[in-house]
Structures are given as C-alpha cells and as structure tokens.
C-alpha cells in the first residue's frame, strides 16, 4: 500500500495551480514529474560538486565520478544486469535505439537482410531502422496488431527467415498503453537465433524489468519518463554485443590510445560514451530510481493497476466514448475519442479545466492509420494520480461533450 497524500507532497509541480486549481497531470507517458529528492540532488551537485568526470585527479572530479558510477550501479541493480558495464548512459531512448541501429547495423546487417519491428512502434523505433536499412539495402518486416492493440504473435513466427537479423519491439506501446508479451517475443526470436531490442520507454516505469530473466539483448529507456531528469537515458546491452559492435560516435573518453594512424577504443561502457556525458543527469536518474525503490516498485505497480481499473470503468460510462487499445494487458493509459469531437478540441477544453493530456498522433502515425483516425486524446496516469482526479476528469469529459453538442 502507498500513502498517496504523502507521495503527492514529494512532487512540487503537482501542488501548482495552472488556471483555477492544482493541475491534474495525465500526460505521464510524455514525461513524468520529478520528486523533490531528484531536484535537490541535481541542485546539490551543481552547487557543491560540479566537475567533469573521469578526467581530473582532484577531489571534485573524483566525487562526481564516484556519484556517476554509483548511478550506473543503481541502474544495473534495478534492471538486474549482469555487469555494470552493460549499462550505457545515453541522452534517452531515442539515442539508445539510434546507437543500436547504427552500431549493430554496421556490424551485422547487409544487403537483403531483414529487421522485424511491430505495427505499434513509436517513430523512434521505426525511423532509425529505416535509415539503417536504406544504407544497407535491408528490409523492414512488421508484426501485425489485432484491433484491440495486441500484437499478433502467431504471425511473428512466420516473419522469420534466414535473413532476419534483429527484432525490435516496444515493451509497452506509447499511444495505446498495451503491454506486449516480450518474454514470448524474446523466446521465439532466440529460437531463431535472432537478438531482440526492447524499447522500454513506456515500460520501465510501470512494469518489472529484469533483463537477465527476460534474456533480452538490448533494453532502452529514458530517464525523464521514470521521474528522473531530461536528457539522460540508458541502453542496456549484453556484453557480447557491446563488445563486438563498433561505437557510433567518437571523441574524448571513448578512446584508450589515439595516434593519427589508429585509435584503440576504450573498454565498456566508455566506448559508447564519447564526449562529456550528462553526468549530473545520470546522478539525478540514480536518485529517481532510489526514490522508487524506497516506495517499492510493486506497491507502485499495484496502485497504478487499481487506477487503471477505476478509470476504465468510469470512462466507459461516458456516452459516445471510443477507446483505442482495449486489450486487458495494459498500463494506466486511456487513448480515446468522444463521438465526433476532434481530439484537439477536447484537449484544449480539458486544458482550460486544468487537466493536462496529450492529443494528436503521439509520434505514432502508423498506429493512427491502422485505426483510420488522425489522432486521439491520451490520458496517461502515474502513481501520484488519484481517484479524485479521475472523477474530476470524467466529469470534465461530460462537460466537454455538452459544450460541443
């Protein structure tokens, strides 16, 4: 059980009035709010310890380096990676996927090879693969989805060929909130000797992630969607792949020796962390994960599941509501339209009622095309949201309906 009132006090932004009342923040799939401890940690490091990592011999540099590597350790434990050096800091999920698309592509993908993705991917798990495929003359194959938003796993089996080089799917779809059966996808792919990348941008903050148990080859996520700062993210990769792949960006820190003839790359994880990384962001992300661990991630997930049942039940009573992604396997995301009201009109009205939701295609045009719509309104909840906020949200939807009637 969690003490929701105490938790809400940890998030300063939630206390803030936008127009008339404290904001009802239902846009957590876009980014999450930050607990005070994360904000304090960032402040503290800029005020007291700021100094570049892995460079200096002085006190400040050592202190920051230690905190940065400690953050890596926290994340390694949180996702249960085998080694700390399997945790690469990036700027976010997008960079993590771009890294793999480039480096894996350079090493293993050639003319006529195939990459499998799903119908319900975010643009950032489509475009990097497309660019790589264009470069290499390779092809993309797509796992189809069913109308309720589940992937058609039976069809996946048929997509494999001896040309398949990698499978890339999201843990949870961003526009619908559907949880994909990644264990099964990984198992099937491995039975064909094909590695799997999981886009965990919407997964890590709402689902348990144990990369060892999952046996995934790569898992990518963003710090800002798990209560950490923006501009920091993680790529988990199995040591074997990270060692074999070439780096995709180069510069300082990623090298061992440089001469004008030849450069020897640094060991993991530094091989993939060229330049000055967002070390204070990483330290802030470490603080966010610690914060979650203190509350207990299972407590968080149980509470969010309760919210999902409550909001699903309540919103289904709104006349004319159409929900996209009706599968039972979902996180607390409701993607919907009300009768003939445009998602933009609904979003603007909700904003005026101090409710923050996302409207549009959610960087997910193929999914919208799949449903034959331009976009949806997406309410995405987190563990600091409440039953009372859901009640107010549903009342507001009824009011929106009345205004546009």
């Amino acid at each position: 059980m969690i003490d929701i009132q105490a938790i809400r006090k940890d998030f300063p932004l939630l206390q803030q009035k936008i127009y008339n009342r404290p904001v009802v923040y239902f846009d957590n799939a876009a980014t999450t709010q930050k607990p005070q401890i994360v904000i304090n940690t960032i402040n503290e490091y800029y005020q007291k310890y700021n100094s570049n990592i892995h460079r200096g011999v002085h006190f400040l540099s050592e202190k920051t380096t230690e905190a940065y590597e400690n953050a890596r350790q926290i994340i390694k434990n949180y996702i249960n990676a085998s080694f700390q050096h399997e945790v690469i800091f990036t700027s976010g999920t997008t960079e993590s996927i771009n890294l793999v698309a480039f480096s894996f592509g350079e090493k293993y993908i050639k003319q006529d090879d195939e990459v499998i993705i799903s119908q319900l991917e975010h643009h950032s798990n489509i475009v990097p693969w497309q660019m790589m495929c264009e470069r290499k003359g390779a092809k993309i194959k797509v796992i189809p989805a069913t109308y309720n938003g589940d992937l058609d796993i039976a069809a996946l089996e048929r997509l494999f060929s001896d040309k398949t080089k990698i499978v890339c799917v999201n843990h949870v779809s961003n526009s619908l909130g559907i949880i994909n059966p990644i264990e099964k996808i990984i198992q099937i792919s491995h039975s064909h000797n094909v590695p799997v990348l999981i886009d965990g941008a919407q997964g890590i903050q709402h689902q348990p992630v144990d990369v060892n148990k999952l046996d995934c080859d790569f898992y990518a996520f963003s710090g800002h969607k798990i209560y950490g700062p923006t501009g920091i993210g993680v790529l988990y990769g199995k040591e074997k792949w990270l060692n074999e792949m070439p780096p995709y960006k180069s510069g300082g820190n990623m090298i061992k020796t440089v001469t004008f003839e030849k450069t020897i790359y640094n060991d993991l994880p530094f091989k993939y962390e060229a330049g000055t990384s967002n070390f204070i962001g990483a330290i802030g992300l470490g603080a966010a994960i610690k914060y979650i661990e203190n509350i207990g991630k299972q407590n968080i997930f149980d509470y969010e599941e309760m919210l999902l049942h409550y909001v699903s039940e309540k919103i289904s009573k709104v006349p004319g509501i159409r929900i996209y992604g009706t599968s039972d396997n979902k996180i607390c995301v409701i993607s919907f339209l009300i009768e003939n009201i445009h998602h933009f009109d609904t979003g603007i009205m909700l904003d005026k009622m101090d409710i923050a939701v996302r409207t549009g295609n959610h960087c997910n045009q193929p999914t919208m095309k799949f449903y034959g719509i331009e976009g949806t309104v997406r309410a995405s909840l987190s563990f600091y949201n409440t039953i009372e906020e859901i009640d107010y949200f549903v009342e507001s939807l009824l009011q929106v309906k009345k205004i546009f009637a």
């Binding site: 445009h342 998602h343 933009f344 979003g347 603007i348 005026k352 295609n361 331009e374 205004i403 546009f404």
Partner: protein, 141 residues
C-alpha cells in the same frame, strides 16, 4: 473599416465575456457560421497540415482584393479562422502585407497561435501574407 478598426471591434465583442467558457462558446458559434468553403477546394494543394489539426485555405483575387476561404477539421480552429477571415479577407495585398495582428493577444487566445499548438493557424497566416506578397508583386500594386 480598416484592419485595425475590425480588430478593435473584435476586442470589444470579447470584452463582455467574463471567463474562458464564454469565449470558447463564442468561438464554437463562430465556427458554425463560417461558410463558403466549397468541397471541391478541400484538396491536398490547399491543405496546411498542423501536428494537431488541419486547415484548408483557398484564395481568390477579385477587383484588386484578395478573398480567403478557409476551413478546419477542429471546431475551435474553425472559430479562430472565422475571426482571421473577418480581419484579413477582402483586402488589398498592400493592406494584408502591412497588417499587424494584435487582436488575438488582446482577446486572450494567443495560445492558439503559439507554435506548440501546431494547429496550422500560424502557417495559415504566413500563407495569407505570402499570397498578398505574390499578388502585390505580380500586379505591381
């Protein structure tokens, strides 16, 4: 009336509203009144695609004046279009090129023109100005 006089008139109309709900209800009313956009003009060539909503803009040049017809798939954007057309349509290219649009800010609906909304309205205004510059150059007026 000049462009500025029409803008003053709109500001005056909005001044009676005491809250956002009245303003938006009025926008919805205006959207219903916006007419004259022919189905045959709802084509890709006239489409201004925003991230959130779409706007179609059709232009006519008659007796030295530019007449605009526009439509949108969202009601609130359509309401805003009705206001923009009232201010900018049926004007000489010269008037449009020199027009400063200050009424949107005054009536407290600037968010509709902020780039983050990406609803096509900013692009529509830009497009209207470009038409005016083109006609001005073409006819040397």
């Amino acid at each position: 009336m000049t462009i500025d006089q029409i803008q003053e008139q709109i500001v005056e109309e909005f001044s009676v509203f005491t809250d956002w709900m009245e303003k938006y209800t009025y926008l919805i009313e205006l959207s219903k009144e916006l007419q004259g956009f022919k189905e045959e003009f709802r084509i890709n060539q006239n489409l201004i695609k925003g991230c959130q909503s779409q706007v179609w803009l059709q232009v006519e040049f008659k007796n030295g004046k530019i007449i605009f017809y526009a439509d949108s798939d969202t009601v609130l954007t359509k309401g805003m279009i009705a206001l923009l057309i009232r201010v900018l349509s049926n004007r000489t290219p010269e008037e449009i090129v020199n027009a400063k649009l200050w009424f949107v800010d005054k009536i407290g609906l600037t968010t509709h023109l902020s780039p983050t909304r990406s609803n096509g309205l900013i692009s529509m205004i830009k497009q209207i100005k470009l038409y005016a510059i083109a006609y001005k150059t073409k006819y040397n007026i």
